[in-house]
């Protein structure tokens, strides 16, 4: 277990491991938004929370295809499946590693990017909170999607298609929290829903992922 986590982190930090790339992608997307919708800061301020959430979501999404597919291609997934580790814990560990290397940095970077889109003052706190609560769900759900598509070569895009709809609830509530926070409205309800979704996803999805993975391995 620990060994697996350590290995995945090590791989992520090694050359080509792609740590920080998700972050860079987040940054770039945020920069591209004004280019596409125009520079009026008032407009940007209104869409800022949503854009940041969407950006974080996409950055998460893009890093998913490495999650299991690499292990699949070089055969280590076969070997892990025959190893004395339950596949459920394998996928959980992988999701955790993914969150540490992708979700966490996004949460920490979000406020800085908020400045670029001049997010209104109170928004920052709620943005960080909602992301911190939401990104774990993104990782777990993403792992499920990765498990579904692991057999396909370069299934990256298909993966996005499968996962994006699953991301919708998280996105809705997360963005809602951030938006309400930015406009100073109460945020309790969406926050609760968000937390609920995350908790449920973490509790249940690993089993689904493991089952799917078993099917893909045969």
């Amino acid at each position: 277990m620990i060994a697996l986590l350590l290995r995945d982190l090590k791989l992520a930090f090694r050359a080509g491991g792609g740590f920080g790339l998700g972050l860079a992608f987040f940054l770039i997307v945020t920069v591209l938004v004004p280019f596409s919708v125009g520079p009026q800061s008032s407009l940007l301020a209104t869409i800022a929370p949503g854009v940041l959430w969407l950006g974080a979501l996409l950055a998460c999404l893009l890093s998913l295809d490495r999650l299991l597919a690499l292990d699949w291609e070089d055969g280590s997934l076969d070997l892990l499946a025959t190893a004395p580790l339950p596949l459920e814990s394998v996928v959980t560990i992988k999701a955790l590693a993914h969150w540490i290397t992708t979700g966490l940095p996004l949460v920490l970077a979000a406020p800085v990017l908020g400045v670029l889109l001049n997010l209104p003052g109170p928004g920052y706190f709620w943005l960080v909170v909602s992301l911190a609560l939401g990104t774990p769900a993104l990782s777990v759900i993403g792992t499920f999607g990765a498990a579904l598509t692991v057999g396909l070569k370069r299934g990256g895009l298909l993966l996005s298609l499968l996962v994006l709809p699953l991301y919708v609830p998280t996105l809705i509530f997360g963005a809602e929290v951030a938006r309400r926070g930015a406009t100073g409205m109460e945020t309790a309800t969406p926050l609760l829903m968000l937390a609920g979704i995350t908790a449920a996803a973490i509790a249940l999805l690993p089993f689904a992922s493991a089952a799917v993975l078993r099917v893909n391995l045969r």
Binding site: L4, L79, A83, R218
Partner: protein, 204 residues
Amino acid sequence: MTLTVTDLAITRGGVPVLEGLSFALEPGRALILRGPNGIGKTTLLRTLAGLQPPLAGRVEGAEDTIAYASHSDGLKPTLTVVENLQFWAAVFGAKSIQTALDAFALNDLADRHAGNLSAGQKRRLGLSRLLVTGRPMWMLDEPTVSLDRNAVTMFADAVRGHLGQGGSALIATHIDLGLDGEVLDVGPYKAKPKPIDDFDGGFL
């Protein structure tokens, strides 16, 4: 710990490839799988390793006793030789990787990234993994691919050593390994094409 296979039938991509296969693999024995390309050796090994369910028949004594080595070695190109081995050692709870390194003469490759080993060097690393699993039954799929002569002998010695300690091995190969184990040619067990008129659960 004996592996007993009784009247096994296996499928690949939904098509039965082998059927009526029965054999036993006692400790200390090696069994060499032979058969033409595409007969189903890989599929058989995967089935025994528990990666896919058999179509029919029983497999006994296979749970958590099998170390499987497939066509691909499961190496991480950006990890060094030692790191790769240590990971598997940790997963299988082995204490030392030194014996594995020695057995396949990997000591002077020890801190190279697996990514820039040559084909045969990679293969050696992949095989050395077997030694850290501590599993009694080895299932090897064409283990000597792109190994040079003395690497092949290294491998044969490793297998003999394993058998010596009461382990057993099931090896699918097309070349002669100089191992004295009985040979099982799976050719005769090729699944007969089912009559296509009765159109049952298998759509055949």
